[in-house]
């Protein structure tokens, strides 16, 4: 029996055709994955089903009946629920208050909190989602917050559950937990739509997979008839080199080093404890570790946002006394951030304004403080072409680009500044396959040019594939230094969990 069907959906945004004649049927009781690169239109399609967008044309059928969905209220009535990438929870409210918000049990005119707690407890028992109804949401981890979101839509009687990239914010353990929940919901007869661009996850959880590319549905395949390579090819439209290109480059002199660096985080806890390492020219040093083990402290200390409580940071052998982004950059640092929207770009600025940020005071972009539009335009046009930013419109605002193209904009900006040390903090986070491939190629190019690269990443494959040396960070300490040749992902995993230590490689 079909749970949800869309026919000939077209969605036209001012500049792009987000959905181009999409026809799709989702069966009741299956986990249907919708994969595609960022900007392929998969989220848009589901937002149309949920009523957040209205389609330009096309029809939606829910449980076989044609429905006119204009707002989320309509879709909730039709038993469709959606868990968004960004949670819509109120941090100061308790779990119970968040779950019943908008449809509260009442006693006369008053909110019946006790009954609400009881309802939430029954609900969490019924679906096996363990949760403390009285806890405040601000005290919960992201994984548990997601459970609250799921319970919220289940309470409204959702039969069709749409998950918009639910694993993007989760740790691997939390992801496994979520998959258990999804399977339980499926066994309960619910229909699940799972939007993702992570192929390994899709292969693990989905029954059927729909692949989207540039607004079109490329095809629907059964999981058992396909593999990751084939899916990647459908997504990108060509063969993708998923293994990473290695380049043998002779290691040069030291370009960056930290000595006994200790940093306190915002909670006042020592998040980085007497860490020492150095990066040489032509070398990629990978920092592996589970999120929250000192990566943020390290990056913020290098940028000068958080003052270290002890230790030294040097670039090209010169100790930087007053650490500010400006001083670090003038000494030769470039920085790729995972937080594109906050740190990487000024979103309402046009592409042309973003690519010169940081070098806007230099000739020829400005002369005696006055901007030279012609030079900026020429430079931006060249850079957007060189880095294959799409669309190559220098007058588009940064916020109108997709995630991958935003990252390319950042690369274009950072790589055109003079540097011989590159701090790359999770450079592929949230990127699709095509953009990830681009970033890898670029990192290898930089290495060939003799740049020393500090690569901080949560993805083990990335660390293993690119690094010449790997440092493992666990609760603010370096617990191991290995080379990718002599170690395995399992061993790294043990070190990341703090279960194993490894001596420094004797050079």
């Amino acid at each position: 029996m079909e749970a949800l069907a869309v026919k000939n959906i077209i969605k036209q945004f001012p500049n792009v055709l987000a959905n181009d004649n999409v026809t799709l049927t989702i069966e009741k009781g299956e986990i249907f994955a919708l994969v595609g690169e960022n900007g392929a239109g998969k989220s848009t399609l589901m937002k149309i089903v949920y009523g957040l967008y209205t389609s330009s044309s096309g029809e939606i059928y829910v449980f076989g009946k044609k429905e006119d969905i204009k707002t989320p209220e309509d879709s909730i009535k039709l038993k469709i629920g959606m868990v968004h990438q960004e949670f819509m929870l109120i941090p100061r409210f308790t779990v119970t208050e968040n779950i019943v918000l908008g449809d509260e049990p009442r006693k006369g005119f008053l909110f019946d909190y006790r009954r609400a707690v009881k309802e939430v407890r029954e609900l969490s028992d019924k679906f096996g989602l363990k949760i403390d109804p009285a806890e405040k949401v601000e005290n919960l981890t992201v994984g548990v917050q997601q459970k609250v979101e799921i319970l919220k839509i289940l309470r409204r009687g959702a039969e069709i559950l749409i998950f918009d990239e639910p694993t993007a914010v989760l740790t691997p353990e939390e992801t496994q937990e979520l998959f258990k929940t999804l399977n339980a919901l499926k066994n309960d007869g619910k229909t699940i739509v799972f939007i993702s661009h992570k192929l390994n996850e899709v292969m693990e959880i989905a029954d059927r997979i729909g692949v989207m590319r540039r607004g079109r549905l490329q095809g629907v395949v059964n999981k058992k008839d396909t593999n990751e390579q084939e899916l990647a090819k459908m997504m990108v439209g060509r063969d993708v080199v998923l293994e990473l290109p290695k380049a043998e480059v002779k290691r040069g002199g030291e370009v960056f080093s930290v000595r006994d660096l200790s940093v306190k985080n915002l909670k006042g806890i020592l998040g980085l404890k007497r860490v020492s390492f150095e990066v040489h020219s032509g070398e990629i040093v990978g920092i592996a570790g589970i999120e929250g083990n000192g990566q943020v402290e390290l990056v913020n200390a290098i940028l000068g946002f958080w003052k270290p409580v002890g230790g030294k940071i040097s670039i090209n052998g010169e100790e930087i006394k007053l650490i500010t982004p400006y001083n670090m950059r003038t000494k030769g640092m470039a920085y790729i951030t995972e937080d594109r929207k906050r740190r990487g770009l000024v979103l309402p600025f046009k592409a042309r304004e973003n690519v010169i940020m940081g070098q806007h005071t230099l000739y020829p972009f400005s002369n005696k403080g006055i901007l030279n539009d012609r030079e900026i335009d020429a430079f931006a046009t060249k850079k957007l072409q060189e880095f294959d930013v799409r669309p190559p419109d220098i007058y588009s605002k940064a916020e109108s680009f997709s995630g991958g193209n935003q990252q390319k904009l950042i690369l274009a900006k950072e790589m055109s500044m003079k540097h011989n040390f590159l701090l790359a903090s999770q450079p592929t986070r949230g990127l699709d396959i095509g953009a990830t491939e681009f970033v890898y190629k670029m990192l290898v190019e930089e290495k060939k040019k003799g740049t020393g690269i500090l690569l901080i990443s949560l993805e083990l494959t990335e660390i293993m594939g690119l690094s010449d040396r790997i440092l493992v960070l666990y609760s603010g300490e370096i617990v191991g230094e290995v080379t990718p040749e002599e170690t395995t992902e399992e061993e790294l995993g043990l070190m990341m969990l703090g279960l194993k230590r490894k001596e420094k490689v004797v050079q």
Partner: protein, 383 residues
């Protein structure tokens, strides 16, 4: 001139750039309509009221146009100054409501350098620029206090600027100007407030037989200066980047190596200097002294002016003239038995509709852009 227009309108390269002009215009129109409903509901004639208001406002040629036109620009010059002061801070992501205090600082400094002995004897050509420079230095420094505390100590600029407003007010009207105060005129002269400024300090009149002086020309030059700073210089580029990322703690500009704390202090200095310039106009052009009781409010009205002008220099020039016109025409509406505070209601309504501009924009977009598009789509479908 052509170059300027090209840069303002064409270089924007936004598809619907005309929306930025249409939305404020529609908001003003809506405010006038709602205002008419108010008048009608009290049994008076809205048409008569508006006729009286606009005939006396200086916007429309008619009898006594010359003097009302002059009065309109005279008050507009002050509204534009405080509007620009708010806008330049807002562009940099700072919510400065200190224009009121900076305005009266400017007024009192202008009065002092206007009457005080060694300066009062100077020829006008030296005296006036000297006063204006001192006014901007003092006003800028007053703004800089808030900028310094924000940049170095992280204290929110709203709190500091509110407190500085009161400090300025109490310093001037509680200590400097009242009888017996350091700046008060001698009792035997019979003048209350500060002494009158020397004739060499008065701003030259540019329209014969009116009070319209070079203040309006100065402020138009400042409008161009602010536009140039914001859109043509690296300084303005950095300021706008900071304003856009203020909700993210200005992380992106900081990471790019921009010294945000230095810029915050510079913006606040500039903002204070421009507000104080407005304050000097009222002393040098209208009152000729700092009176014992100062009718203020220009600083706070500046926020409304900046909102209506969308924080854009050219927009503020126009909205400042509009508010100036409404104030000038205010007394005339009394003939229709409407209180002269009525134009303030119109002002409030305009601000309210500007605050609702996303809705206005959405509706306009729906009516003007979508309707065109959907008709073309159905045409295509028929074919």
């Amino acid at each position: 001139m052509k170059e300027i227009f090209y840069r303002i309108f064409v270089r924007r390269r936004e598809k619907y750039w005309w929306m930025n002009i249409l939305v404020p215009l529609v908001s003003i129109l809506l405010a006038l309509i709602v205002g008419a409903i108010f008048i009608k509901s009290t049994g008076r004639s809205p048409l008569l009221a508006y006729k009286l208001l606009f005939n006396a406002s200086g916007l429309i040629p008619g009898p006594y146009w010359r003097s009302s036109f002059a009065e309109m620009l005279l008050s507009a010059s002050m509204f534009i100054a405080t509007g620009l002061a708010f806008a330049i801070a807002a562009k940099g992501g700072l919510f400065s409501i200190g224009a009121e205090g900076q305005f009266i600082i400017g007024a009192v400094v202008a009065a002092y350098f206007g009457y005080a002995k060694p300066f009062a004897g100077l020829p006008a050509i030296i005296h006036i620029p000297l006063i204006l420079i001192m006014v901007m230095l003092f006003g800028g420094s007053w703004g800089l206090i808030a900028g310094y505390l924000k940049a170095k100590r992280g204290i929110h600029e709203v709190i500091v600027t509110i407190m500085l407003n009161w400090i300025a007010f109490e310093l001037i009207e509680g200590w400097l100007v009242p009888t017996g105060g350091p700046m008060a005129a001698k009792v035997e002269t019979g003048v209350s407030g500060t002494p009158y400024i020397s004739p060499t300090a008065k701003l030259p009149i540019i329209l014969h037989n009116t009070r319209l002086n070079i203040g309006i020309l100065i402020i138009i030059a400042v409008v161009y200066f602010v536009w140039f700073i914001l859109y043509r210089t690296t300084f303005g580029y950095e300021v706008r980047a900071m304003g856009y990322t203020a909700i993210y703690n200005m992380e992106a500009p900081k990471v790019s190596g921009i010294n945000t704390s230095k810029r915050i202090m510079q913006i606040m200095f500039l903002s204070g200097a421009i507000a104080a310039l407005g304050g000097s106009f009222i002393v040098l052009g209208i009152l000729s002294q700092y009176p014992p009781v100062f009718e203020g409010g220009y600083g706070f009205d500046g926020i409304a002016v900046a909102l209506i002008g969308q924080n854009e220099p050219v927009g503020i020039l126009l909205s400042g003239i509009l508010i100036g016109a409404l104030r000038t025409g205010a007394t005339a509406v009394q003939i229709a038995r409407i209180p002269k505070t009525f134009p303030a209601i119109i002002e409030g309504l305009i601000v309210a509709f500007i605050a609702l501009q996303e809705l206005v924009r959405y509706l306009l977009f729906k009516f003007l852009v979508k309707s065109k598009k959907s008709s073309s789509v159905t045409e295509g479908g028929v074919k």
